[in-house]
């Protein structure tokens, strides 16, 4: 427990971060709110006019909005599930005595090193292409019809690529967290007759609860704004199948350079992100305390 002095000190050490982030949030936010009420096309500067909530109405009544909302949630949810479900065993595996451990770890983290556009291009053209991709070749090799990834399962394909990129993030955070698990606790569990699986469920997993929470929340923030992967692979199509909120804002607003609706879209995205975060915190947030 802290004392008043440390608490005071703690507050003052927290201040720079809070202050900076506050400015970083409030200034663009204020400008964005302001712009969101304007008719403001970047291609037609000087024609700014106050239009009230028109930009919001326009953005929200877009028939693509609901579809993209759904896609966004599916994308975020699936990638989260995949990275956590695969990240935990992977982290555990990498925590084992493994010959050449440093090298294996590096291989596992590597996907995170590659810029999203590049990995999307590599996956799309060198691996997943139904005619000239490696997967198609492998499928034909074993006598299967190659999957037409971006045509038949476009959203899943995007999820796959994004999950591949974010798996290292989850793995590395969980792996690091495993380092602080006291060996003696595991020994105590073993003495208590716990099998490896029980030890995992009752000792390791609770220990990982907080890092998992962090992975979920941080990834969510990034996944809500996945854009490059979609733009490069499917351009949001076919139809609206891979259009998410971020892509929608981009295509409706930035390709069109309509600052007004970009701002409105941005604010809508903030609200959505907050709603998502709110529910996530309801689910996993108690791990943050104490």
């Amino acid at each position: 427990m802290a004392t008043r002095q440390t608490q005071f000190l703690a507050r003052s050490l927290l201040t720079p971060a809070v202050g900076l982030l506050f400015i970083w949030m409030i200034v663009p936010l204020a400008l964005t709110i302001y712009f969101s009420t304007l008719h403001y096309s970047l291609l037609d500067p000087g024609s700014e006019a106050f239009v009230g909530l028109e930009n919001f109405r326009y953005f929200l009544t877009d028939p693509a909005f609901l579809a993209s909302l759904e896609n966004t949630l599916v994308l975020v949810g699936s990638v989260l599930a995949l990275t956590i479900v695969l990240g935990i065993p992977l982290a555990l595996l990498l925590d084992q005595p493994v010959v050449g451990r440093n090298f294996v770890r590096l291989m596992v983290i590597a996907p995170f090193f590659v810029m999203p556009t590049v990995s999307a291009l590599v996956w799309k053209n060198l691996l997943m292409h139904p005619v000239s991709g490696l997967f198609a070749w492998l499928a034909k090799l074993v006598g299967l019809t190659p999957v037409d990834w971006f045509n038949d399962v476009p959203l899943f394909s995007v999820i796959l690529i994004v999950a591949w990129q974010w798996l290292p993030f989850a793995t590395l955070i969980l792996l690091t967290a495993l380092q602080s698990l006291d060996e003696e606790q595991k020994e105590a569990a073993e003495m208590d007759g716990a099998s490896a699986i029980s030890t995992f469920i009752y000792i390791t997993l609770p220990h990982l609860a907080r890092p998992i929470t962090v992975v979920i929340l941080i990834e969510t923030i990034f996944l809500l704004t996945v854009f490059a992967e979609i733009f490069v692979t499917t351009g949001g199509g076919p139809g609206l199948q891979t259009t998410n909120i971020a892509f929608l804002i981009y295509s409706q607003a930035l390709i069109q350079f309509d600052v007004g609706s970009a701002s409105a879209g941005g604010l809508v995205a903030v609200v959505i992100a907050n709603i998502v975060a709110f529910f996530l915190v309801r689910i996993v947030g108690r791990n943050l305390e104490a």
């Binding site: 982030l21 493994v98 590597a110 602080s180 907080r210 890092p211």
Partner: protein, 276 residues
């Protein structure tokens, strides 16, 4: 203190780890291989794995076309600088929230994260105007600043979790030993949190390294990092996979080296034996 692991177990986990590691790494390996092929070979079906005509022609082209070192240096300065500054601000902040929590700590944490919820496209114009006004366009400082702020919530969050796992007693012992808070952070907390710090640093460095929205939009040439370099290799007219692969390989090389070294900081069981 743990038991020596049986050879069998080592063998099993080694095989498993290498298998999955290779699986995950394969797309990148494939990309690296492509960077040594000709454009035509990069696309050949059936694909050639190792027995193709190895060529460094793509690298030569890339080097000839763009000043890799200039971009790499910018990337190192921008990503490194923003990560370091973020750490400097975040370590005290995370310490404060982990060891001196209040009722509002959770709210502050969530609020910090919420500052990252604003999609960059939504604020591009305001930021561009601000940067223009302050003459920060195409400056390293400007990019360091924006990436630092962008990553700050992430850094704080990650550090917060790692700090939470450190027994408070040990910090108190340092306090009793007459250490000021600053020294407590430097001599006691930081070394104990090395694995956490290393992974936080690595992950945020990569995030900054690969950040492609602000770096592309706020830099022109003087401060242009590797994202700009890469953007000049993706999807031009004509075949480009091999060249793009070469450029990407070059772009990830420095961070790969860094990844290798930060690896070693991920050692196990630092707090073991400290408290009972």
């Amino acid at each position: 203190m743990a038991r020596k692991s049986t050879t069998q177990r080592v063998v099993v986990s080694t095989i498993g780890a290498w298998f999955f590691g290779f699986l995950i790494f394969f797309p990148i390996l494939w990309m690296v291989l492509a960077s040594f092929k000709t454009e035509l070979e990069a696309f050949a079906i059936p694909p050639s794995f190792l027995f193709f005509h190895w060529t460094t022609e793509n690298y030569a082209t890339v080097q000839e076309r763009s000043d890799y070192l200039h971009h790499a240096m910018n990337s190192i300065i921008i990503a490194g600088g923003s990560t370091l500054i973020a750490l400097l601000i975040a370590v005290p902040a995370a310490w404060s929230m982990a060891f001196s929590p209040t009722k509002r700590t959770k709210d502050i944490l969530l609020w910090m994260l919420s500052t990252k919820m604003m999609p960059p496209v939504g604020v591009l114009v305001p930021i561009y105007l601000i940067y223009k006004t302050f003459g920060l366009l195409d400056s390293r400082i400007g990019l360091i600043f924006i990436l630092c702020l962008g990553n700050l919530p992430i850094v704080i969050w990650m550090l917060f979790t790692y700090f939470k796992e450190i027994p408070r007693d040990i910090l108190e012992a340092a306090r009793m030993d007459g250490a000021t808070i600053g020294r407590e952070l430097i001599y006691v907390l930081t070394p104990m949190a090395i694995p956490g710090l290393a992974s936080t640093m690595l992950l945020n460095l990569i995030l900054a390294w690969n950040e492609a929205f602000w770096t592309l939009n706020l830099s022109t040439s003087a401060a242009a990092p590797l994202t700009v370099f890469i953007a000049s290799y993706s999807s031009p007219e004509g075949l480009f996979w091999a060249k793009l692969s070469a450029a990407s390989t070059l772009a990830i090389a420095p961070i790969l080296v860094l990844g290798w070294f930060s690896q070693k900081q991920l050692v196990r069981g630092l707090t073991f034996g400290a408290v009972k």
